[in-house]
């Protein structure tokens, strides 16, 4: 009976209740939309970085990860690679040779670089490097030994496609190599540090030069970046002799940002809920004060204080949770719409493309956030109920009735 009374009570002043419910709907909608925007932006950026450089999972020799020494190549490579290739969750895979302490020398100047020996065809399935070629091509047409260099290197040293340069590096036997390469393509990615430090050559040319057929890195993709962690864990269990890392470990920055996005939602919603709480308190306080006599009568005829308290708490709860699902639904639809069609922010954010970000944002949210929001609404309602309900308890029946 008390829930029934409480439910009916919130419809006594329809306008006032609708205002509060409307505010709650708008608040939740705004919170979901804002979070989905920032999650969407971060996702896009993370996705870009994974697609361009990191892919989903990387495998190295366990000591290689510390100082990238060429001697720390992957042991039992054939066996490891075979296992990875046969894993159903692995959708694309490639291997790389890395000489991280190399020198690029030419008449135009010297520069320390990292040489990455790759399989260009496999590489296309893993990273989007080939899409970032601004001049020349990605190992499609070339004469002699081709090298693709970053735009920053090209800029600093004035290299152009077709220029000749010397790559110097030391192999694992301590022998120095100085080999003449020809610039085949120049790439410009969103990461200028990478573009100023990395050069790509076909792995085969390095094997020919050194005679050492070895690999330092295996990069692979799975269906979705969110599957990467569990895949890397299961691969690590199968391959105890190597280090298997998912993208969040390869780039702790990205992993951290990803985790923070969940917190962003809580912070946005927390602020909104705090504001809504005062609105709810105000409404319920009015509802209690204008019913002084009625509450006095109820206590006079024998309704106990806990029951009065419960009634006010339930009223607050009902008032709040009516708006909750509607706000979530509205937010969900908005996120769904802009998740598919994208939201063009170019008008308000001209600078975004400068950071290598697309100005069209695809909103995104993890549905489990809706549960969190639901819980937050209930908690907000309960907190907001306390003061008005206490106020109701302090009523003195005889005085409340005398005011008739």
């Amino acid at each position: 009976m008390i829930p029934k009374i409480a439910w009916r009570n919130i419809w006594r002043n329809r306008l006032r209740s609708f205002v509060v419910i409307g505010a709650i709907i708008m608040g939740i909608w705004a919170g979901i939309f804002m979070s989905s925007l920032s999650i969407g932006m971060t996702e896009t950026r993370t996705q870009d970085i994974l697609d361009t450089f990191i892919s989903h999972v990387q495998v190295h020799d366990s000591t290689f990860v510390y100082d990238h020494k060429p001697a720390d190549f992957i042991q039992n490579f054939e066996e490891v690679y075979g296992i990875l290739q046969n894993d159903d969750s692995v959708t694309a895979i490639t291997r790389r040779v890395i000489y991280s302490q190399a020198m690029l020398a030419s008449a135009k100047g010297n520069r320390s670089v990292e040489i990455r020996g790759i399989y260009p065809e496999e590489e296309r399935g893993i990273t989007k490097l080939h899409e970032y070629i601004v001049d020349g091509n990605f190992f499609e047409e070339f004469k002699g030994k081709p090298v693709c260099i970053g735009a920053k290197i090209a800029e600093k040293n004035g290299y152009e496609v077709g220029d000749k340069l010397i790559l110097q590096y030391q192999d694992i036997h301590g022998e120095m190599h100085a080999v003449k390469y020809k610039v085949c393509g120049i790439f410009k990615t969103i990461n200028s540090q990478h573009d100023g430090f990395t050069v790509y050559v076909p792995a085969q040319t390095l094997f020919d030069e050194t005679g050492d057929i070895m690999y330092h890195e295996i990069a692979l993709r799975t269906f979705n970046k969110s599957d990467a962690l569990s895949l890397s864990n299961s691969l690590q269990a199968q391959l105890p002799d190597v280090k298997v890392e998912y993208w969040g470990q390869v780039s702790p920055d990205l992993g951290y940002t990803d985790e923070m996005m969940g917190v962003a939602l809580l912070i946005y919603m927390g602020i909104i809920m705090l504001a809504l709480m005062f609105g709810i308190i105000n409404t319920m306080l009015m509802a209690v004060l204008e019913r002084t006599r009625e509450l006095g009568m109820l206590m006079a005829v024998g309704m106990t204080k806990p029951k009065v308290f419960l009634m006010i708490v339930l009223e607050t709860l009902f008032l709040s949770i009516v708006g909750g699902p509607l706000g979530i639904l509205l937010g969900h639809l908005t996120v769904g719409y802009f998740g598919t069609n994208g939201l063009d922010l170019s008008v308000v954010a001209e600078g975004m493309s400068l950071f290598g970000m697309s100005s069209i944002v695809y909103t995104s949210i993890d549905p489990s956030a809706y549960i969190q929001i639901g819980i937050m609404v209930v908690v907000t309602a309960l907190l907001a109920a306390l003061y008005p309900a206490r106020k109701a308890l302090k009523l003195n029946p005889s005085e409340a009735i005398r005011s008739i």
Partner: protein, 229 residues
């Protein structure tokens, strides 16, 4: 048998200050079972104060109020609420009913608080609303009822808990003379047929004329106590 024994009850507001009010200054009154008593007197004479103290809604400054040998002035707050629920029926001048509940639900609510079984509740609610002549208005909410009908629902509600007596502070003050007559008919019939004890305050001479016992207060003292009819 005495249902209520009021002994030397005093109520002083702002004691010792310049604006001290002696709302009640030593009231002694015994109400027997089955009595139909009107408390009358000029405005400010202490009628409401007396009824509130008897009903356990207000505390006295001194004296005792025994209801069936229980001194309610000594009951702690939570026991008092329970005591009111089970032993006293209330009818106020207005705001008697819960606006969002129907007549039936309003009457049943008090029995729900008493945790009576559903079957008993339904039967008694129907019987009581019939008794106050509102069988056809059971599913109406208070705002769909006239003032007189609302007060009749309030009387039914007051009786629903099977109280020892019903306290009514100016139950007819907001009613026209016809509704006043109807309500009084019902109260008198309940008094005569069911033996329900009523104590009510009033200013209305027609109501006073129909009371069996008239207690007159003046300046917080009983100045006359007459049995009539």
């Amino acid at each position: 048998m005495a249902v209520i024994e009021i002994k030397d009850v005093k109520k002083i507001y702002y004691p010792g200050s310049e604006i001290q009010v002696n709302a009640l200054s030593g009231v002694n009154l015994t109400i027997e079972e089955g009595e139909f008593t009107a408390i009358v007197g000029p405005s400010g004479s202490g009628k409401t104060t007396l009824l509130n103290i008897v009903g356990g809604l207000d505390t006295s400054s001194s004296g005792s109020v025994n209801i069936d040998q229980t001194d309610i002035t000594r009951l702690p707050e939570n026991k008092l609420i329970d005591f009111r629920l089970h032993h006293i029926g209330f009818v106020f001048q207005a705001y008697n009913l819960i606006p969002v509940l129907t007549a039936k639900e309003n009457v049943g609510f008090i029995m729900l608080l008493q945790k009576r079984p559903e079957q008993e509740r339904n039967d008694r609610v129907t019987a009581l609303l019939e008794e106050v002549g509102l069988s056809d208005k059971m599913d109406k909410r208070p705002n769909e009822l006239s003032g007189g009908q609302q007060q009749r629902v309030a009387v039914a509600r007051a009786l629903a808990s099977k109280p020892r007596f019903v306290l009514a502070d100016e139950p007819t003050a907001n009613l026209d003379s016809r509704s006043t007559g109807d309500l009084l008919d019902i109260m008198l019939r309940l008094n005569q047929e069911e033996g329900t004890t009523f104590i009510f305050s009033t200013h209305d001479q027609r109501v006073i004329d129909r009371a069996r016992r008239v207690v007159t207060l003046e300046d917080g003292k009983i100045v006359s106590d007459v049995r009539q009819g």
